[in-house]
Amino acid sequence: MHRTKLLDHVILLIGVFIMVGPIVVAFMTSTHEAADIHRNGLQILPGGHMIDTYTTVLTKEGGFTGKITGLRMILNSLILGIGFAAGKIVLSMMAAYALVYFRFRFATITFWMIFTTLLLPLEVRILPSYEVMNALNLTNTYTGLIVPLLASATGTFYFRQFFKSIPDELLEAARIDGAGPFKFFIDVIVPLSKTMIAAIFIIMFVYGWNQYLWPTLMTTDETFFTLVRGIKQILLVWVGSNIPDYNEAFALAILAMLPPVMIIVLFQRWFIKGLTESDK
């Protein structure tokens, strides 16, 4: 075993400082008053306005219509994040199951077609998607926000690779045990994929949580605003002699960070297992 030396600690400490430093600064700054921040720049010492800033951010009804609170935005973000993650997992698992376990013509071609869409970022198809949703009158709905992004090449790809690594004999044993395709999926495939599901869930949740462009395009109704949009909104008040509420923007940013961090902390063990382990 390698013995830890002082230098190792120094390197790690520098890493921690670089990673955590900005977050600490953001948090400390959020506890000062907006005017303070405007005058003195970023802060690294606590400012004593933490509770009122965060209460304001969470409960003050803001926005143009004055109806949207921080809590509402958190809720929206959660719906989006969890909806994305859950929907993508269900859809891509079923797609991968069909690709791996059912022999149908053009399966390989289908897979590669799905796979190549990995190369296309969301932005490429964002306008057509918007058009479709608009025509279906699904703008300003959760359905419109979530459904068009559910098809996931990444998820399908990961699950396909995972299913391929499950030994064929398991399927054969299940067939002899009288499990049909549906039962095999529910009784064997899903439980075996637990760690994989956790890994994909985290990735997709963070992806959904951080969506900015798509919700901006799809929603004009402020009750559908997400946290990420809210942060931007706060800084949009630079008119006349108004000072933007820097403290509130920072507070929102900190709040926006918490759920993904919590999810990762909670699922960490499974996440690592899912991406590294192939114990079957």
Binding site: L170, R175, I176, D177, L192
Partner: protein, 371 residues
């Protein structure tokens, strides 16, 4: 429990490769049949066709008089044991055993009873709540067998179930499988590439080569009267010595050396002679003898295998370890222990010379000697 009838079954893969060529086997109720052959001989394919995991291209398979060509594997009333056990890794041993019964809608109480019975039989009761990963290879194999037993099927299908175990465990599991099968009396079809496993387990052996049956018979029958050079070299360890010889009257010419047999059945002039390594023995002093030039010796403890050449033709003799081996030794063989094969087709030419050839000490004829 049921008889299995495999009638002219063929497997033709897309692309025209014929893996199994018109194979017919009649399996009696309660019989233990072992399919044996080298890899790629079609033995697993045949088993999987009986199991319903591969489609039957031609021919019919009936189990208990019912044609099962188009029946789902689950409805064929069979149970299969796989080489890599194929246990469900996320289920406990109990659930692994119970899964097939649950899918059939067996009442809970009966599942409990059957699992308990199988667990007792296989001595896996302490592990019922464990997951397969917490078990050793031998225990996993027992669970896999338990999963077959609880179903009380008409037939067991074994696909090289012992190949993943270490040598010692393999021998003890072999014994257990045999006993279990005798106790349950369930018709069994067992695939292996290990001829020793085949010999010890089988009521009848089916030797397959290139998708065709080379020979079907009781283990000793196959051992003592192999139907072809393929069977002769595949069954038995060390493999039977096969030597190209020419016949002249009652003499067999080994290159420059001659074996005087005393008498021979009608044979072609060119033939392949088969001699089991253990049928070769040292010629008594004073006998005219054939000189085996010893190349190397394998010590097995109970016997020693002497590899050498007789006029350029390789021979292996299994001799007692008590005999001192010189550089050249004189060997002899009882004429009743000679096997004759057609050189071009590889088929066995005649029944053995002596009707009592199956027995060891059958030589009433004068000992022939390699001159």
């Amino acid at each position: 429990m049921a008889a299995i009838d495999i009638l002219e079954v063929s497997k033709i893969y897309a692309g025209g490769v014929e893996a199994v060529k018109s194979v017919s086997i009649d399996i009696a109720d309660g019989e233990f049949i072992v399919l044996v052959g080298p890899s790629g001989c079609g033995k697993s394919t045949l088993l999987r066709m009986v199991a319903g995991l591969e489609e039957i291209s031609k021919g019919t398979v009936t189990i208990g008089g019912r044609r099962i060509n188009d029946v789902e594997p689950a409805d064929r009333d069979i149970a299969m044991v796989f080489q890599n056990y194929a246990l469900y890794p996320h289920m406990t041993v109990y659930d692994n055993l119970a899964y097939g019964l649950k899918n059939r809608g067996t009442p809970k109480a009966e599942i409990d009873a059957r699992v308990a019975e199988a667990a007792r039989m296989l001595e896996i009761e302490p592990y019922l709540t464990r997951k397969p990963r917490a078990l050793s290879g031998g225990q996993r194999q027992r669970v896999a067998m338990g999963r077959a037993i609880v179903r009380k099927p008409a037939a067991f299908l074994f696909d090289e179930p012992l190949s993943n175990l270490d040598a010692k465990l393999r021998v003890s599991m072999r014994g257990e499988i045999k006993q279990l099968q005798k106790r349950l009396g369930t018709t069994s079809l067992y695939v292996t590439h290990d001829q020793l496993e085949a010999m010890t387990l089988a009521d009848r052996l089916v030797v397959l080569n290139g998708g065709r049956i080379e020979q079907i018979g009781r283990p000793l029958e196959v051992y003592h009267t192999p139907a072809s050079t393929f069977v002769a070299s595949f069954i038995g360890s060390p493999a039977m010595n096969l030597v190209q010889v020419t016949r002249e009257g009652t003499r067999l010419h080994f290159g420059g050396q001659v074996l005087e047999t005393g008498r021979l059945p009608p044979l072609p002039a060119e033939l392949t002679l088969g001699i089991r390594a253990e049928d070769l023995r040292l010629a008594q002093p004073g006998d005219p003898s054939l000189r085996l030039k010893v190349e190397y010796i394998e010590e097995l403890g109970a016997q020693r295998l002497v590899h050498g050449t007789v006029d350029g033709k390789t021979l292996t003799a299994a001799l007692s370890p008590e005999i001192d081996i010189a550089d050249t030794i004189a060997l002899t063989v009882a004429p009743s222990r000679l096997h004759f094969f057609d050189t071009s087709t590889g088929k066995r030419i005649t029944q053995p010379l002596d009707p009592a050839a199956g027995r060891r000490e059958s030589a009433t004829l004068p000992e022939p000697v390699l001159v």
